[in-house]
Symmetry: C2
C-alpha cells in the first residue's frame, strides 16, 4: 500500500479520521468564514443568504445494487444533507461523468430512477452537466448532485420549542445547538446500506437479501420539526454512527453515551457483520437520520417517527453527557468501550 503521508489512499475517502484530517489540512484553508454556516463548520451543508447549499459526488460500486442504484443514491444523499440542516430542498443540479462505452440503456435506467426519486422527495433537477472520459479512464460513471434549500415554517417552529430549554444562536440544525441531557435518536435500522452494497459485489462470499435503505428523508424531517425540540440532525453515511457521534462530541464539546442494546439492527445484518468481522457502528447508511433532541421533546419526536413510513424502527439509543469525554458505548454484555472515529473503511465506495 502507498504511503498516506505523500499520496492519497483509499483511507482518505473513507469518511473517518484520515478523510477529516485531509479536509482540515488541504481544503479548510479555502475557508474565509463566509456565510451563516460556512465551510469552517464542516457540517452537512452550508448556509449563505438564507440558502442551504450542498454537494456530493457518488462513486458507488456496483452502480445497481440491492434496493437502489447510483441515481436514487445521488438524489437522496443530497436531499438528505439539506434536510439534516433543517432546510427544505427545492432544486438539485445533476452532473454526470461517463466512461466511453457505457451502455445507453443503463443510463436510461439511472435517469428514470433519478426522476422517480425526485418525485418522491418533491425536488427538481434544474441544471446539469455531461462529460465523457475515455475508456479505462473512469470506472463506468460518477454522478455529482448539488442542492439548494430554504428554511421552512416547521424549522422556525422547531426552534421556538427548542428555545424553552436553551439559548439558540443558530436557527439551523448544527452541533452547536446540542446540550447536556439531549437524547440521541436514530430513525431506523443501522448497517443495511453497507451490507447491501457488499452483498451486491461480485466475488463476495456471503449471501444476503438485505436491501439498501437509500431514500430521501426530507418529508420525515418536516414531520419531526413540526413536533419541535430538535437541536441537530445528521445522516450516518460514510464513517457510520461512530464518525457521526464523534463529530458531535467534538463540535459540541460534550460526551455522548449510547447503549448497544438500543441500536436497531436487522437480524440478517447482525449475522453478516458477525460473519465478516465488521463493526456495526462504522457501517454507512443512506436512509437514516440521527437526531439530538431536547429531553422534554424526545418521546413526542420518537412517537411521531414511529407513525411515519421512514421512521417506524426509530429508537432512543443514548444521550449527551457533559460528565464524560468522547463517545462511550455500553455493550450488550454491560461493558463499556470508547468509540473512536473509524480509520479503515469496512466497505469502500459505498456512496
Amino acid at each position: 500500500m502507498s504511503d498516506p503521508k505523500s499520496v492519497i489512499t483509499l483511507l482518505h475517502g473513507a469518511g473517518g479520521a484520515y478523510m477529516h484530517n485531509l479536509i482540515k489540512e488541504y481544503f479548510l484553508k479555502l475557508d474565509d468564514n463566509f456565510g451563516e454556516v460556512g465551510l469552517g463548520v464542516l457540517d452537512d451543508a452550508a448556509v449563505i443568504n438564507g440558502i442551504v447549499f450542498t454537494t456530493d459526488s457518488y462513486t458507488v460500486r456496483p452502480i445497481f445494487f440491492r434496493g437502489g442504484d447510483i441515481g436514487r443514491l445521488a438524489v437522496s444523499g443530497t436531499v438528505n444533507d439539506i434536510a439534516m440542516m433543517g432546510g427544505d430542498p427545492i432544486a438539485l443540479s445533476l452532473a454526470v461523468v461517463i466512461e466511453e462505452g457505457f451502455s445507453k440503456s443503463d443510463l436510461a435506467k439511472i435517469v428514470e430512477s433519478i426522476k422517480r426519486t425526485c418525485e418522491e422527495a418533491n425536488v427538481h433537477i434544474v441544471t446539469g452537466d455531461t462529460k465523457v472520459m475515455e475508456r479505462n479512464s473512469l470506472d463506468k460513471i460518477v454522478i455529482n448532485t448539488g442542492g439548494i434549500g430554504i428554511a421552512s415554517e416547521e424549522l422556525k417552529h422547531n426552534f421556538n420549542v427548542l428555545r424553552k430549554s436553551r439559548e439558540v444562536k443558530y436557527e439551523w440544525l448544527v452541533p452547536m445547538n446540542i446540550r447536556d441531557g439531549d437524547k440521541i435518536i436514530v430513525s431506523g435500522t443501522i448497517g443495511d446500506h453497507a451490507i447491501a452494497i457488499l452483498s451486491s459485489r461480485e466475488g463476495v462470499e456471503f449471501e444476503s437479501n438485505i436491501q439498501s435503505d437509500v431514500m430521501p428523508l426530507n418529508k420525515m424531517m418536516k414531520k419531526v420539526l413540526e413536533v419541535g425540540g430538535i437541536a441537530d440532525a445528521k445522516d450516518p453515511t460514510r464513517g457510520g454512527l461512530a464518525d457521526l457521534l464523534n463529530d458531535w462530541a467534538e463540535k459540541s464539546g460534550l460526551g455522548i453515551y449510547i447503549k448497544e442494546s438500543e441500536i436497531p439492527v436487522k437480524e440478517e445484518v447482525s449475522s453478516a457483520i458477525e460473519f465478516l468481522g465488521l463493526d456495526l457502528l462504522e457501517l454507512g447508511n443512506e436512509g437514516k437520520a440521527v437526531l439530538a433532541v431536547s429531553p422534554e421533546m424526545a418521546r413526542d419526536v420518537l412517537e411521531t417517527l414511529h407513525s411515519t413510513p421512514w421512521g417506524k424502527d426509530a429508537s432512543i439509543i443514548g444521550e449527551v453527557r457533559k460528565d464524560i469525554e468522547g463517545v462511550i458505548l455500553e455493550t450488550v454484555v454491560g461493558g463499556k468501550r470508547l468509540v473512536t472515529r473509524p480509520t479503515g473503511d469496512p466497505v469502500p465506495r459505498i456512496c
Copy 2:
C-alpha cells in the same frame, strides 16, 4: 469505435450535436418546468427563487497545462456560467474525486490555485465533498464545482437600458431576449485554451507558447452591465463559437451573420490550427464571453470592454439577422458558408 446508438462515445461529451441530442433525449425528461429559468431552457445556469444555480464537472487532461490547471478552470468555469446569466456569483461548492495514489503535493497546488482564483473572482467555497476511487478506476482527479449567484444592481440597470429597444420578458441574460439587428461581440481572442491544452499534451507533434485564457469573467460582466443593453451572454466553451452561435440562432429563431476577418485570433493559434487542420470556430475557450448587444449600445459596450484587462481584444464579429437562417460565416476571401454545430471534437477533454 463503438456504436453511438447503443453506448456512450467521446462524441457525447464533445459539446456539439451528439451531446445536445443526448441531453435532450435522456436528461430533458427530468424537466418539470420548475423555476424562472428552468432546465428546459438548457442555458448556462438555472434561476429559481431569484437564485442563479449551476454545476460543471472538470475532467481536463493534463491537469496542469500552459496558463492554468484544473483548479483554476473549475472555479472560472462555474463563475462564468453564473456571470453569463447576469448573476453575481456568491458561493461555490467543491467536490473532488481522486484516484488512489494521487500526489498530495499536486493536490496542494490545485487547492492553492482554487484559492487564488476565488480571491480573483471574489467568490467563496462554502461546502465540498471528497471521494477516492481505486487505482486505475479514475484518471487522476475529477473536480465538480457548483455555484449560486444573485441579481445585481447592474443587471437591473442593463435591462432598463435594453427596454428602450425591445420588450423584455426575462430579466436574465437568455437567448429569448435577442432581437434582429443585435450586434455580436466576442470579448477577446479565440482558440487559446484548446490550443494550450493540446500543446500541453505528451506526444503532440507541435510546439507552441500559447497560454490558456482560463479566467473568471464576473468582474468584466459587471462592467458591461453597468453600460447596459446586453440581451444575452454566453461563454464559448466545448463546441466553441460554432456551437454557441447555433444555440442562439435556434433559441432566438433568428439568423446570425459573422465575419471571419473580425474574429480576434492570435497569430500562433492561427498557425497551429492551420498546421493541425482544425476549425477555429469549434475550439473551446475558458476566459471569453460572447455578447448579443442592442445596436445602439454596441459601441459603448465595446469601448468599455477595451478599457478592461479582460476585454482588451474585444471585437464586433457580426450581427443577428431575421432575413437569414442559421449561422452564416463570411470568410476572409469573401465567400459564405453555413456554420453548423460541431459533431466531432477537435480537442477532447479540454474541460
